[in-house]
C-alpha cells in the first residue's frame, strides 16, 4: 500500500463534490441494509439532503453467494435539495461476486467499484455465474476498481474481542461502512453510539462492530488506496428539527396523529403482508397512545374488525398490499353502504397475484376506483414522498370522519422503505379534524314523537349522522341491503334505489369542494406541455422537469394527491395544455381516468420494472415531446452527457 517508489504518499487531498449516489450490495446475510441505513444517518446528521432506496429480495435468506440472495441499499446524498435516490450509482460497494454481478451493469462507465477482495474466491466467483475472475479478466476496465481485503482486515481488527472468526466475519459490513464513511468524510460519533446502543446486550458483538468500523475508517485514511477523499457540504435546510423518516413510519405516526386530531380511538385490524407489515409492527408498539392493534386471522377479518370498531365510534384502519385489497373488496362495499369511517391503506407492490412482494409499482389505482361490484365510490388519497405519508394519512382520515366513508390511502414499496429528511411539524400546527357524534333524535314523527333516522343527511356534506352504541334513544340497525332514504329501513323500492345510488355518488363527488384546487407549477406561464403524475413518481417527474428547465425547456407540472374525487379545477387546468404526459408505474391508469373524465388526449409514460422511474428516462420523454411540439419550448441543444455524475436532480 505504498507507491512504487516505496515512500509513503502525502495525505490525500479532499475534493469537493456536490452529490454522490452510493449503492451498498452484498449477500442477504451481510448486513447491507444496516450499512446503508447507518451511512444515511451519518449524512443526515451531517446535514446533507438525501434520498434512499433499499432493494431486497422477497425470500428471507436465499443460499449464500447466489444471485437471488443479493440485497442492496442505494443512497443519494447532496449539498442541495434532491428528490430521488439516483438513476444510477456513482459508487458500488460489492461485498461478494454475486453482488458485483447483479449490480455492476447499473454503474455508468467511469464509476467507482469497491469490492471485498477476500470474497472473490473461485467457488464464489463460479456461484455468481462468472466464467472468470472479473477482477482480473479485464471486464471491469470501464470502472475504477478498488480491491479491499475487508474480511481479513475485519478478522484482524476483531482479534482483541476473542470472538470466533465466523462471528467476527459478520462485522465486515461495518468495516465497509468505515471505508466509505472515510471516503466521504462522514462524522463517526453517531455510528459508534448507535452500535453501543443497538448491541448493548451483546458486548462482544458491539466491540467487534466498533473495531471493524474504526478499522475501515482508518484503512481509508492510511492505506493510500484512494487518491482522495470527498467532501459534500451540508445542504441549506429550512431551520427546524429534522428526522430521517421512511414512508411506513411516517404513515404509522400520521395515523396516530390523525386519531388524536380527530378525537377518536385508533383501531387497526391487519394481517402481515409485504411491504405493509411494518405499519402493524409500529402501531402495535404505541399502546400508551391507546392504539389497539389486532393481527387478525386473515385480510377479511382485519377489515371486518376495523369496520365493527367504526360502528362503535373508533377510527377503523386496515393496512395491506395488492393481494389483501382483493380480499377486502366485499367489506369495502359494505362500508360504502353502511357509510362508516374506515381507512384502507394499500402499500402497492408489483403485481399481478403474488407478483414482486419487495418491488414497487403503482398499479392498484383502478382497483381502488372500481374494485367493488355495484356503484360503490370510495375517495382516494395518494402519498407523494416518504415524509408526505404523514400528511396524507391525516388528510385521508379527515375525509373518512367528515363524510362517514371508507377512504383508500395509497402508498407503495418505494415510499414505504425509502427515506428522506423530514422537517418535523409542530403539533399545534396540525389541523383539528374532529367530527360530531349524533346525540339527539333527528326527526319528528307525524304523531309528535321524536325519532332517530340513521340516513337523514347533512345538507352540505350529504354525510349521515354517526350514532354509536351506548347512546340512548338512537338505537338503529344498518346493513348491506339497500335502505330507504332517510329512515334506513331495508327497501327494495326502485325509485329509492336509484335515489340512494345517486346520493352516495353525490356525497363522494361533493368532497371536491372540500379539497384544495390543483396548483400548476408553470414558471413561465406559457408551457404547452404538462406532466401529470400521482404517488411516488413525484420525485422522478419533478427532477426531470427541473433538468429540462435548466436546459432551457418549458414544461408545466401537476401532481395529484386526491385521485377521487379529483380537485374541482383539474379539468379546466388540463384543457389549457396541448400535450399531457402521465408517467406511471403501471400500464396507464390515471391516464385512463383523466381521458374519460375530461376528454383530453393525455398520453402515458409507463414503467413496470418494479423499480422507480429514472429521472433520465422522464427527461428524455419530455425533450422528445417538446421537440415534437415544435415552437421554441424545447431547449436549444441537448446538454452534454456527463457519465461521472450519473444523476442530477437540480
Amino acid at each position: 500500500m505504498t507507491s512504487s517508489t516505496g515512500t509513503p504518499r502525502q495525505v490525500r487531498k479532499v475534493v469537493e463534490i456536490d452529490q454522490v449516489v452510493i449503492r451498498f450490495a452484498g449477500d442477504s446475510g451481510d448486513g447491507m441494509q444496516v450499512t446503508g441505513d447507518r451511512f444515511t444517518n451519518e449524512s443526515a446528521i451531517f446535514g446533507n439532503d438525501l434520498s434512499t432506496l433499499p432493494n431486497f429480495p422477497a425470500e428471507i435468506r436465499a443460499p449464500a453467494g447466489t444471485l437471488a440472495g443479493v440485497s442492496a441499499f442505494q443512497v443519494h446524498i447532496s449539498d442541495h435539495e434532491i428528490l430521488t435516490p439516483g438513476d444510477a450509482p456513482n459508487v458500488l460497494v460489492a461485498m461478494n461476486p454475486a453482488a458485483l454481478k447483479v449490480n455492476a451493469d447499473d454503474l455508468p462507465a467511469g464509476g467507482t467499484i469497491v469490492v471485498n477482495a477476500d470474497a472473490f474466491d473461485e467457488r464464489a466467483i463460479e456461484k455468481a455465474g462468472y466464467s472468470a475472475n472479473p477482477l482480473t479478466d479485464g471486464s471491469l476496465h470501464r470502472y475504477k476498481v478498488y480491491e479491499v481485503p475487508m474480511t481479513s482486515l475485519t478478522l484482524e481488527a476483531c482479534k482483541p474481542t476473542g470472538a470466533k472468526p465466523r462471528d467476527a466475519e459478520r462485522s465486515k459490513n461495518f468495516f465497509a461502512l468505515g471505508v466509505i464513511s472515510w471516503l466521504y468524510q462522514r462524522p463517526t460519533e453517531t455510528t459508534i453510539r448507535w452500535i453501543a446502543e443497538r448491541f448493548g446486550r451483546n458486548p462482544v458483538v458491539a466491540e467487534a462492530n466498533t473495531l471493524a468500523y474504526k478499522a475501515g475508517y482508518h484503512f481509508g485514511e492510511t492505506a493510500e488506496l484512494f487518491e482522495s477523499a470527498y467532501e459534500i457540504h451540508a445542504a441549506t435546510h429550512e431551520p427546524g428539527t429534522y428526522t430521517n423518516i421512511t414512508g411506513n413510519s411516517a404513515l404509522a405516526w400520521g395515523l396516530i396523529a390523525a386519531a388524536r386530531l380527530g378525537n377518536v380511538p385508533l383501531f387497526l385490524g391487519s394481517y402481515p403482508i409485504t411491504p405493509a407489515s411494518d405499519i402493524l409492527h409500529e402501531l402495535s408498539k404505541h399502546k400508551n397512545f391507546g392504539v389497539r392493534t389486532l393481527q387478525a386471522e386473515d385480510e377479511i377479518a382485519g377489515i371486518g374488525a376495523a369496520l365493527g370498531a367504526a360502528f362503535g365510534g373508533a377510527l377503523g384502519v386496515t393496512t395491506t398490499s395488492g393481494p389483501g385489497i382483493d380480499l377486502k373488496s366485499e367489506t369495502v362495499g359494505l362500508a360504502v353502504s353502511m357509510e362508516l369511517p374506515l381507512l384502507i391503506v394499500d402499500i402497492q407492490r408489483g403485481g399481478p397475484s403474488t407478483g414482486l412482494p419487495t418491488k414497487t409499482e403503482q398499479s392498484d389505482l383502478l382497483h381502488a376506483m372500481f374494485g367493488r361490484h355495484g356503484e360503490a365510490p370510495v375517495p382516494i388519497v395518494a402519498a407523494m414522498t416518504p415524509a408526505h405519508c404523514f400528511d396524507a394519512a391525516i388528510e385521508a382520515v379527515r375525509i373518512a370522519l367528515k363524510y362517514r366513508t371508507p377512504v383508500f390511502l395509497l402508498s407503495d414499496g418505494y415510499l414505504a422503505n425509502g427515506s428522506e429528511p423530514w422537517r418535523l411539524p409542530s403539533v399545534e400546527d396540525l389541523p383539528d379534524i374532529s367530527t360530531q357524534l349524533a346525540t339527539e333524535p333527528n326527526v319528528t314523527l307525524p304523531n309528535g314523537e321524536a325519532a332517530f333516522w340513521p340516513y337523514v343527511r347533512d345538507p352540505e356534506t350529504l354525510a349521515r349522522p354517526w350514532a354509536i352504541p351506548g347512546t340512548p334513544g338512537l338505537e338503529h340497525r344498518i346493513g348491506g341491503l339497500e335502505k330507504q332514504d332517510r329512515t334506513g329501513n331495508v327497501s327494495y323500492e326502485p325509485e329509492n334505489h336509484d335515489r340512494m345510488v345517486r346520493l352516495r355518488a353525490a356525497k363522494i363527488a361533493g368532497i371536491a369542494k372540500d379539497i384544495p384546487p390543483v396548483e400548476v407549477d408553470d414558471p413561465t406561464g406559457d408551457a404547452r406541455l404538462l406532466l401529470l403524475g400521482w404517488g411516488s413518481t413525484y420525485a422522478a417527474i419533478t427532477a426531470g422537469v427541473r433538468r429540462v428547465r435548466r436546459a432551457g425547456g418549458t414544461v408545466a407540472q401537476v401532481h395529484l394527491v386526491h385521485l377521487n374525487p379529483f380537485p374541482a379545477n383539474l379539468g379546466q387546468v388540463l384543457r389549457r395544455y396541448g400535450r399531457i404526459l402521465v408517467p406511471e408505474a403501471n400500464l396507464g391508469q390515471l391516464v385512463k381516468l383523466v381521458r374519460a373524465d375530461f376528454l383530453v388526449d393525455a398520453r402515458s409514460i409507463t414503467n413496470v420494472r418494479g423499480t422507480p422511474f429514472r429521472v433520465g428516462e422522464i427527461e428524455a420523454d419530455i425533450l422528445d415531446e417538446l421537440r415534437a411540439l415544435g415552437g421554441r419550448q424545447a431547449p436549444a441543444a441537448s446538454p452534454p452527457a456527463n457519465e461521472m455524475v450519473a444523476s442530477r436532480d437540480r
Binding site: T241, A310, L334, V427, P469, P472
Partner: protein, 349 residues
C-alpha cells in the same frame, strides 16, 4: 357476558325490545320462537337497550337484528364474528350478540368463528342450525346429513357434516351449549347463562325450517319424544334422561361413553353414572358428550356442555394498554415525532 353498571338499568318489557319492523320469516319458521325467547329474556337481564348490539351475517337467521330494538348490524356472509370482534374489543361496555346460521358460521364464516372462540372475545354467539340453506332456497349446508337430496345435491350429499358442539370445543371455546326452538324455557335458560358468561359463549340452537327442511329435529324435540330423546345436561348431576330417568350415561373402562338403563332389575345404580361437570378445565368430557349423538335422530345431549372462565380478549387488550400507559406515561405526539434520531438546523444569523 356480564356488564356491570353502577346505575340499575330501567325496567323494560318485551315490547321495548321489539322493533317496529314487520317480521318477514316464513310463517311457521322456528326463528319466531327463538326471537320470542330473546325478546322475553332481555327485560329479565337488567341490561340497557342502548348498550346492546346484535350483529349478523347473511341468511334467514341474519335478519334477526332488524327485529330487535337495539343497535344492530346486518353485515356480509360469514363475517359477523370479525365485525363483532372489532366492536367488542374497542367497546367493552357493550353486550354484543352474534346471530348466525349453519351456513353463515360453518361454511364461509368458519374461520372467523374459530378465531373468535379461540381468542375468547366477549360475545354471545347464537347459531341457528336448521341443517339447510334457507335464504337461497334449499341447498345443503355443512351440517346437513350425508345423502341428503337438495337442489344442489340431487343425487345426495357426499359431505360428512360438522358437529358444531365438537367444533366449538375444538376451537377452544370456554362456553358451549345447545338448545332447540321447541322449548322456550330451555332456550331462555341457556341464553341467560350464555349472556352471563364473560368471554365467547357459543350456543347451537336446533331450528326448524318448515319450508326447506321441515321436521329435521322432530324425532328428538317434539313434545312426545323429547323426554326419551334429549339428554339434559345439568352441572353436578348424574346424567340421566328418559321417562322417569330410566336411562343414563356411563363411562366404560376404555373411556368411552355409553347409554345404559338405570335402576330396576337390569339397570346400573345411579352412582355408576357420569356426573356432568361443565367447569372441568379440560374439554375432553364435553367433547365426548358431544359425540354421544351422531345426529338428531338418536338421544342427543342438550344444555351446557362446557362453562369455564378465562380472561376475555378485550380485557387482555385493555390491560396491555393500561400497563403501557403506566410504564411509559400517556402518549405524547411531540415526543413520538422526535423519537428517532433528530438534528436541528439553526436559523442562519
Amino acid at each position: 357476558m356480564t356488564i356491570e353498571t353502577d346505575v340499575a338499568a330501567p325496567a323494560t318489557t318485551r315490547k321495548d325490545w321489539t322493533s317496529d319492523q314487520d317480521v318477514r320469516w316464513c310463517p311457521g319458521c322456528g326463528d319466531y320462537s327463538i326471537l320470542a325467547a330473546v325478546q322475553l329474556l332481555m327485560p329479565e337481564l337488567g341490561v340497557r337497550r342502548e348498550n346492546t348490539v346484535f350483529i349478523s351475517g347473511i341468511g334467514c337467521a341474519a335478519r334477526f337484528p332488524y327485529y330487535m330494538n337495539t343497535y344492530g348490524m346486518h353485515s356480509i356472509h360469514g363475517r359477523a364474528p370479525a365485525l363483532a370482534t372489532g366492536l367488542a374489543v374497542t367497546r367493552p361496555d357493550l353486550d354484543v350478540f352474534v346471530v348466525t346460521g349453519d351456513g353463515d358460521a360453518l361454511s364461509i364464516g368458519g374461520n372467523h368463528l374459530m378465531h373468535a372462540l379461540r381468542r375468547n372475545v366477549n360475545l354471545t354467539i347464537l347459531l341457528f342450525n336448521n341443517q339447510i340453506y334457507g335464504l337461497t332456497k334449499g341447498q345443503y349446508s355443512p351440517t346437513s346429513e350425508m345423502g341428503k337430496v337438495t337442489k344442489s345435491t340431487p343425487f345426495g350429499s357426499l359431505d360428512t357434516p360438522f358437529n358444531p358442539i365438537s367444533l366449538a370445543l375444538g376451537a377452544e371455546a370456554g362456553f358451549v351449549a345447545r338448545t332447540h326452538d321447541m322449548d322456550r324455557k330451555h332456550m331462555m335458560g341457556v341464553f341467560r347463562r350464555a349472556h352471563a358468561h364473560r368471554g365467547a359463549a357459543f350456543v347451537e340452537v336446533y331450528q326448524n325450517c318448515n319450508v326447506f327442511n321441515d321436521g329435521a329435529f322432530e324425532k328428538i324435540t317434539s313434545r312426545a319424544s323429547r323426554d326419551e330423546m334429549l339428554i339434559q345436561l345439568e352441572h353436578g348431576k348424574p346424567i340421566r334422561f328418559g321417562v322417569d330417568g330410566h336411562r343414563g350415561v356411563v363411562m366404560d373402562d376404555q373411556g368411552r361413553l355409553k347409554l345404559v338403563e338405570v335402576g330396576g332389575e337390569n339397570g346400573v345404580p345411579e352412582e355408576a353414572l357420569v356426573v356432568h361437570d361443565e367447569a372441568r378445565p379440560d374439554p375432553g368430557l364435553a367433547f365426548a358428550l358431544s359425540r354421544l349423538s351422531l345426529g338428531p335422530y338418536e338421544p342427543t345431549p342438550v344444555g351446557i356442555f362446557r362453562a369455564v372462565d378465562r380472561p376475555d380478549y378485550g380485557s387482555l387488550v385493555d390491560a396491555q394498554l393500561l400497563d403501557a400507559k403506566a410504564r411509559k406515561g400517556p402518549g405524547d405526539l411531540t415526543n413520538l415525532l422526535r423519537s428517532g434520531m433528530t438534528w436541528t438546523v439553526e436559523k442562519t444569523p
